[in-house]
């Protein structure tokens, strides 16, 4: 059994954060809220999302897992205006999701969760640096790097106590430095890793500009980015595997 009512905006931002990485995902219907974990087909990027029951207007379930085609579900939810409510109800018989938005009603066929690839465990990483920035700083760094290259280095200079971003293209390059004053907080540790902009651009799209993003960074290690949606009731973590640094 699953029946929930939620604001379209909350649902949309939750789904967007997952759909930038995968087309289909499993949604765990837990008593304390929804949880999604998915890794992209190439095993490079991962998203871990939880949306607490109190992010919903109402939320009832006795547990279970459903598989959804995210693009289709987003189309449905996209029919709602900002501020409207979306009601979701699982029909156990037909294995379809019944969706109601104001007067609009529809059903969405679900996917067999077993046909969706198994989500991996989150690797346990000990990352030496932690930087807290605003979402817009990430957007600025990614947009600047994208002008010149297809990859981007994120690092912390422990002497200068700065967080920096380097992007080097064939002919042009871009550097961005954020000092302790520019950051919300900085726990400095030796850290520098290179990442694919393809992935980072997609993740950036789903990170609200005005939110705080906690970045965990290491030496040639995956980066983790934590942020919240729905006034802290939705928590999202992205993890991205690094590229191998050029010699």
């Amino acid at each position: 059994m699953f029946k929930a009512i939620v604001s379209a905006d909350t649902l949309e931002s939750a789904l967007d954060s997952v759909s930038v990485l995968v087309d289909e995902c499993k949604i765990n219907l837990n008593e304390d809220g929804l949880a999604i974990r998915a890794v992209d087909p190439a095993n490079v990027g991962m998203v871990d999302l939880s949306l607490a029951a109190d992010a919903f207007e109402s939320y009832e379930t006795d547990g279970g897992i459903i598989g959804v085609n995210l693009a289709r579900l987003e189309e449905f939810v996209g029919m709602a205006d900002s501020g409207q409510l979306v009601q979701l109800e699982l029909d156990e018989e037909t294995r379809k999701l019944h969706i109601q938005i104001e007067g609009l009603e529809g059903t969405l066929a679900l996917i067999d969760p077993d046909s969706i690839r198994q989500e991996p465990d989150l690797p346990d990483l000990d990352l030496s640096a932690e930087i807290v920035v605003e979402g817009r700083d990430i957007d600025r760094a990614v947009t600047a790097a994208d002008m010149v290259s297809d990859h981007i280095a994120l690092g912390v200079d422990t002497d200068e106590e700065v967080f920096y971003v380097d992007a080097e293209g064939d002919t042009d390059d871009v550097h961005l430095t954020l000092t302790r004053e520019d950051l919300i907080s900085l726990e400095a540790g030796e850290a520098r890793s290179l990442f694919s902009l393809d992935y980072l651009k997609d993740m950036d799209k789903a990170i609200p500009k005005d939110t705080e993003v906690r970045i965990e960074l290491g030496e040639e290690f995956p980066v983790k980015m934590h942020f919240e949606i729905a006034e802290g009731k939705g928590k999202i973590t992205y993890m991205l595997a690094p590229r191998i640094q050029s010699d």
Binding site: D23, D40, A42, N43, V44, P123, P242, I244
Partner: protein, 586 residues
């Protein structure tokens, strides 16, 4: 079975330097595969994930594959392009990319044969908006989990072209080698090019493959039930068979003698063809096989594509006209102009296959008639080994002519003049020419045989395969306007060029050709591209010349584009031998 095992065998096959070694290696692979994997392996060594008649189009182009390799490995795009050019194929370039991988992953997986097959099969189901990205991602997912050798072959499988020297004949011999050598029949000979397979084993496999068109079934049956099991395999309604194909007659009179002689029914010097040769109108339409199983009717082309949906009126005619409960009929679908009753040219009719427009409207504008000329099966009796005249008797009783369903017009002439009259009549009625058929001969699926010849007006167009192309200069500079054409050489299984085509197409046609050719590109050098030889064009020309410039030794004079032969595969193209004969005959 892990995909690494299959990839390892592919590497050994690719480097095998003799047919015997190829067959031995492939047979070893078939024996290694378990019951679940054998069906997957027999198709995948040919670069396919389904038998052709399933009509599964993965829709994977070179550029899509390049994007997937880049996404998975993070190598420099220009460097990948250089490797592709230097190594000559994208599979080898993908191997290089994985060796020089620059993208780490969060977790790593192991590829299995079934997993790779299923992922590739799913690509065909991605449609509409965003489907290209999904394909790139799915393919990148495979490449990300692949070691260099796996990447080499899975990329080639995605592109449908293995380049490991394994043809249908190799698979046939290897199935016999793997499963049919334990219990040789008395007096059986060793099959050439194999370590231990026998002639009767190879024949049984070949026959079963012709009847089922499905090496998955053939290999499984050979393994589990041996030669006796293979001989029990039969046609199955709803599963298309390879059709028997005709050679071209070198003139009507020669054709009459030739077609009778091929099966020993006639003598070269005596007029032995009289009473043994059927002269039948050759219609210019679409060759189809009609499978009738009660009310369940399916139409397949000779390329084994299901075209049932495009021809509802013919399906109705078959339901009404066929009195037999179950039948498999061979014939030609011809479209007739509703206003004039004239037969429509092939290109017009092919619109109905593509169903670009409304099916009902097209059916009204260009109603089709199926002209039946052979009967392969009727009510539990498979007739392939029966002579043509017995099959025609069966055809006679299998159906009654109704609107949309007729017998092909035919006679058994007593002399050349009568045969010539049939020919004149057929051509005057707007048909293509005549077929000459040996009435004593059985039906040989999938073979272009001498027991069936076609005769058409001289200097008829050639069907040739595009092997290379160049971008035009000037106004059409973004289009591949100069196309090198190849004739097929069955001996070497290669295409030999016979000239360069640059006229006859409209801008729209050329733009469509360019799109299709760009999806086939295997190598680029400046403004020149080499393409996978797949696209067959119908080309007219004024005469043939000898020429040192082209691989065939001949060149077409004033070649002109007539159309794309959607119904022909590359090995159905005209052969170098035929070009040579035409040159000598002109």
């Amino acid at each position: 079975m892990e995909y690494a095992t299959l990839a390892d065998y592919c590497r050994r096959l690719e480097t095998a330097d003799a047919d015997v070694e190829l067959v031995a290696t492939l047979a070893d692979l078939f024996r290694t595969a378990d019951a679940d994997h054998l069906p997957a392996v027999v198709t995948m060594v040919r670069g396919k994930v389904a038998p052709r008649w399933e009509g599964l189009e993965l829709g994977v182009s070179s550029s899509l594959t390049t994007d997937a390799v880049l996404r998975a490995t993070g190598v420099d795009p220009d460097a990948l392009e250089v490797e592709w050019r230097d190594r000559g194929d994208l599979g080898a370039a993908a191997e290089w990319a994985v060796e020089n991988n620059r993208q780490r992953t969060l977790v790593s997986g192991t590829l299995t044969v079934i997993g790779v097959r299923e992922t590739l099969r799913e690509l065909a189901s991605y449609e509409g908006h965003g489907s290209r990205d999904r394909k790139v991602e799915a393919l990148a997912g495979l490449v990300a989990d692949a070691d260099p050798t796996e990447a080499r072959y899975l990329v080639r499988t995605a592109l449908g072209y293995m380049r490991i020297g394994v043809g249908d004949g190799t698979v046939r011999d290897a199935v016999a080698e793997a499963f049919l050598t334990d219990d040789p029949e008395a007096g059986d000979d060793d099959a050439p090019g194999t370590p231990a397979a026998t002639v009767s084993g190879v024949k049984a496999v070949e026959r079963a493959a012709q009847l089922t068109n499905d090496y998955r079934v053939v290999a499984r049956t050979a393994r589990d039930e041996g030669i006796a099991g293979l001989r029990d395999l039969d046609l199955e309604l709803g599963r298309p068979v390879e059709l028997m194909l005709a050679r071209k007659a070198e003139g009507l009179e020669a054709g009459l003698t030739d077609v009778a002689r091929r099966d020993g029914a006639g003598d070269a010097d005596a007029p032995g063809w009289r009473g043994h040769v059927l002269v039948e109108t050759k219609y210019d339409g679409i060759r189809v096989q009609a499978h009738v199983d009660g009310d369940d009717v399916r139409l397949f082309t000779r390329r084994l594509v299901d075209v049932t949906e495009g021809f509802p009126e013919v399906v109705d005619a078959l339901r009404t006209g066929v009195g037999a409960e179950r039948a498999l009929l061979d014939g030609e679908l011809v479209g007739y102009d509703a206003a004039t009753g004239e037969p429509a040219v092939f290109q017009e009719l092919s619109r109905r296959v593509k169903r670009e427009d409304d099916v009902e409207a097209l059916a009204a504008e260009l109603p089709a008639t199926l002209h039946c000329f052979d009967c392969l099966h009727v009510d539990g009796r498979t007739l392939l080994d029966e002579p043509l005249d017995a099959r025609l008797d069966a055809l006679e009783t299998a159906f009654d002519p109704v609107d949309g369903l007729e017998r092909a017009a035919a006679t058994v002439p007593d002399d050349v003049a009568a045969a010539r009259a049939c020919y004149r009549e057929a051509v005057d009625a707007g048909h293509e020419g005549v077929m000459l058929k040996n009435l004593d001969a059985g039906y040989q699926p999938g073979r272009r045989v001498g027991r069936m010849l076609k005769h058409k007006p001289v200097m008829e167009p050639l069907d040739l395969v595009v092997t290379r192309a160049q971008y035009s200069e000037g106004r059409r500079s973004s289009l591949l306007g100069r196309l090198y054409l190849g004739a097929y050489g069955p001996d070497a299984d290669a295409f030999r060029e016979v000239g360069r085509l640059s006229t006859g197409y409209t801008d729209a046609e050329l733009s469509e050709l360019t799109d299709r050719l760009e999806a086939l590109v295997v190598d680029r050098d400046g403004r020149d591209v080499t393409v996978r030889p797949e696209l067959v064009l119908e080309v007219e020309y004024e005469e043939l010349q000898t020429s040192p410039e082209y691989g065939s030794g001949y060149a077409l004079r004033f070649p002109r584009f007539l159309g794309v032969r959607e119904d022909l595969g590359p090995t159905d193209a005209d052969t170098v031998d035929r070009v040579e004969r035409l040159y000598e005959a002109q």
